[in-house]
């Protein structure tokens, strides 16, 4: 976790870095009435001034925040360990005779404990989309396809990525096969789906 106050060139300790050492080593802050220019200036200088319509100065600073969580999959762990072995594991409540394709360790209807079961490695498109934008973490991966997969014998479905085809190829009902990462990252992305052989029209 970082703290603010890391305004570059404004601390007086790095006067020569910018090569334009002004009086007292302080760098002139960018002044602008454009919000996008404030954002750009923060990336470079760590601070900027937005001048609003009334001429009032509003001081902005870059304020980083980063955390590495010690994240436990806890009761969901068997699913993610299964992916590393090329297994797709759901759960089943014997009392309700209900099979979860996205595992729930306790049944959402009766509250009873559900048992781990293996799902088939083939399924069908229940719904889908192609994302041309994404949140920051995934922007570089666009365009990517999201798919909701239905399985024979399962009552609920699974959200996944759909690879090996484009927006033009995909339709609800398309047959799919599961694929697994050779080197697991222990993320849900260790499994994805591709069209079954022959499912994509040439």
């Amino acid at each position: 976790m970082s703290t603010p106050g890391s305004v570059k060139g404004a601390s007086g300790t790095n006067n020569n870095e910018g090569g334009k050492g002004k009086m007292g080593g302080k760098k002139e802050l960018k002044r602008t009435s454009k919000f996008t220019e404030v954002q750009e200036a923060l990336g470079k200088d760590g601070a900027a001034i937005f001048v609003d319509k009334k001429g009032t100065q509003n001081l902005y600073i870059d304020y980083p925040y980063h955390v590495n969580y010690i994240h436990s999959y806890a009761q969901d762990s068997p699913f993610f360990l299964g992916l590393a072995e090329g297994r797709l594991r759901g759960t089943r409540c014997e009392g309700c005779k209900y099979t979860y394709a996205t595992p729930r360790t306790y049944c959402q209807f009766c509250g009873g404990e559900a048992k781990w079961v293996d799902l088939p490695l083939v399924g069908k498109v229940h719904s889908w989309t192609t994302c041309h934008y994404g949140s920051e973490a995934f922007l570089k991966e666009t365009p990517y396809n999201l798919v909701i997969v239905e399985f024979e014998g399962a009552n609920s479905v699974l959200l996944s990525r759909l690879k090996g085809c484009t927006e033009q190829d995909i339709y609800v009902g398309m047959p799919l096969v599961a694929k697994f990462a050779a080197e697991p990252k222990y993320l849900i992305t260790d499994v994805w789906f591709e069209p079954a052989p022959g499912a994509v029209k040439k």
């Binding site: 999959y73 229940h126 989309t129 994302c131 920051e136 973490a137 339709y171």
Partner: protein, 479 residues
């Protein structure tokens, strides 16, 4: 039989687990009657560089107070304060700082957070404080400051409100989730009906989606053009159908103009008892019904069961429908049923003068018409084409024969007003309040959006992929 239609079909489902019985918390309400007596909003904007969250809340609060000069600070017994994300605020316990800045210490207060429905929950929390007898007058105020991060980082923060084990790492992006839902909605209600005679599955689905996209564009045009007459709106636009259809594809089939934006803004409402309301105003608005519903956090966990029915519907209407699946919002249905029962509403399309609903996406507005019972499941698209949710007297550039039946989002909704999450549900309450007071002209500087003789309105606040929804019914008291 179309491919892909048999999810959890007769063979794979060994037992129909979900019985379809709604479980509203109560059908009898014994609490005190609650009135809204004042409301205020800041303009919703991309950024308010001159106001932090505290000052925005103060401005909204002061605007509300200006409506009720007889209400002194001493009359306020306590507060409910809402904001969605600590990530956006970069300040934990920010609600305490709002309470502090407004000068309301040492009164009782609590922060409300419930995803996208944060504002709607805050409104109902204030309702509960009055109805229960705990307070006589309660302030509900909420805000969001989404300009504090870049847009795509903001999308990431919002996507963290999806399961971080199973959903987020796949490309956590709410527009993507809503695109998945509407793709199935189109499959269920357009492909299987209007395009049932086309044999090629891919072609039939593409044609169904083209049709549905045009209807979504009609909703976007409606909301953007309504907002031309709302000075508080962030993105009023003189849009055309063509412009929406040609705007950038974000997640197929949802385009840029079908989506609400990130905003900074605050909203405040003051609720009180009947006795207090008489002291403060001669034009109070009764909060006649409240409802709240929930559903699974993950889309993938939603059951394929039976529809929760409203009094004007029959089970046979939906004999072949697996519900809610990923195409409908059971939480919105449950919230509506509870609120309508509380308010004594049997047929919402006939008994509501207007609805302000949570149109984060043009697609979810259409889905929500059905959840709220404004039309039957499957009729959302024709409801738009017939013109029911449009206003009379606003030019949309295409015919809207039944305009004025039940105007939806006369303010412009989230799509055009903006969506500063913690303020949004309260903003809806304020705009509904002005509609019912018949003071839109005074507050907007134009009568264009005033619904003539508005008597009863519904506000609808929605979270996640439909994991929680509130519906509140507001009613005019004066003849």
């Amino acid at each position: 039989m179309a491919q892909g239609s048999s999810k959890a079909g007769a063979k794979s489902r060994e037992r129909d687990v979900f019985s379809g019985t709604p479980t509203p918390s109560s059908t009898k309400r014994t609490g005190r009657r609650v009135y809204m007596v004042a409301g205020g909003v800041t303009k919703f904007a991309k950024a308010h560089p001159d106001m932090d969250f505290r000052l925005m809340c103060k401005k909204a609060f002061d605007k509300a107070r200006s409506e009720v000069p007889n209400l002194r600070m001493d009359d306020i017994d306590g507060t409910r304060i809402s904001y969605f994300s600590d990530h956006f605020s970069r300040q934990l316990k920010a609600a305490s700082m709002v309470q502090d800045f407004l000068g309301l210490n040492p009164r009782g207060s609590v922060r409300i957070e419930w995803g996208g429905a944060t504002g709607g929950e805050c409104f109902q929390a204030a309702w509960e404080a009055i109805a229960s007898g705990r307070m006589d007058t309660c302030l509900a105020v909420g805000y969001e400051t989404m300009s504090r991060v870049q847009t795509w980082k903001g999308n990431e923060f919002i996507a963290l409100a999806s399961d971080v084990n199973f959903d987020f790492p796949l490309g956590g992006f709410y527009t993507g989730y809503y695109a998945l839902m509407v793709t199935r909605h189109i499959y269920e209600y357009v492909r299987k009906t209007k395009f049932a005679n086309i044999k090629d599955e891919r072609e039939a689905q593409r044609k169904a989606t083209e049709y549905a996209s045009r209807v979504m564009a009609m909703v976007s045009v409606k909301n953007h053009r309504n907002a031309l007459h709302n000075p508080y709106a962030q993105y009023p636009k003189d849009l055309t159908l063509d412009a929406v259809l040609k705007s950038e594809m974000v997640s197929y089939p949802i385009t840029r103009e079908d989506i609400c934006t990130m905003s900074d803004g605050a909203a405040a409402t003051i609720l009180c008892t009947e006795e207090k309301a008489k002291e403060f105003t001669d034009n109070p608005i009764l909060v006649k019904g409240v409802g709240c519903g929930t559903d699974t956090m993950r889309l993938a966990d939603r059951p394929f069961g039976k529809v929760l029915l409203m009094p004007h519907e029959k089970a046979s209407d939906y004999a072949n429908l697996e519900y809610p699946g990923v195409h409908s919002f059971r939480a919105g249905r449950a919230a509506s049923i509870e609120a309508y029962r509380h308010a004594g509403i049997e047929n919402p399309n006939k008994e509501l003068s207007f609805v302000e609903l949570h149109d984060a996406y043009a697609s979810s507005e259409i889905q929500t018409y059905e959840d709220m019972g404004l039309c039957r499941y499957g009729e959302g698209y024709s409801f738009v084409e017939q013109g029911d949710p449009f206003l009379k007297g606003v030019d949309y550039g295409f015919p809207v024969p039944k305009a004025g039946t039940t105007p939806v989002n006369p303010s412009g909704g989230l799509i055009a007003c903006g969506h500063p999450v913690g303020a949004t549900g309260l903003m809806q309450a304020v705009l509904a309040y002005w509609q019912l007071q018949h003071t839109i002209g005074k507050n907007f500087g134009s009568e264009k959006l005033q619904i003539p003789n508005a008597k009863r309105g519904a506000i609808h606040s929605h979270a996640g992929t439909g994991s929680s929804v509130t519906v509140s019914i507001l009613e005019r008291v004066r003849p």
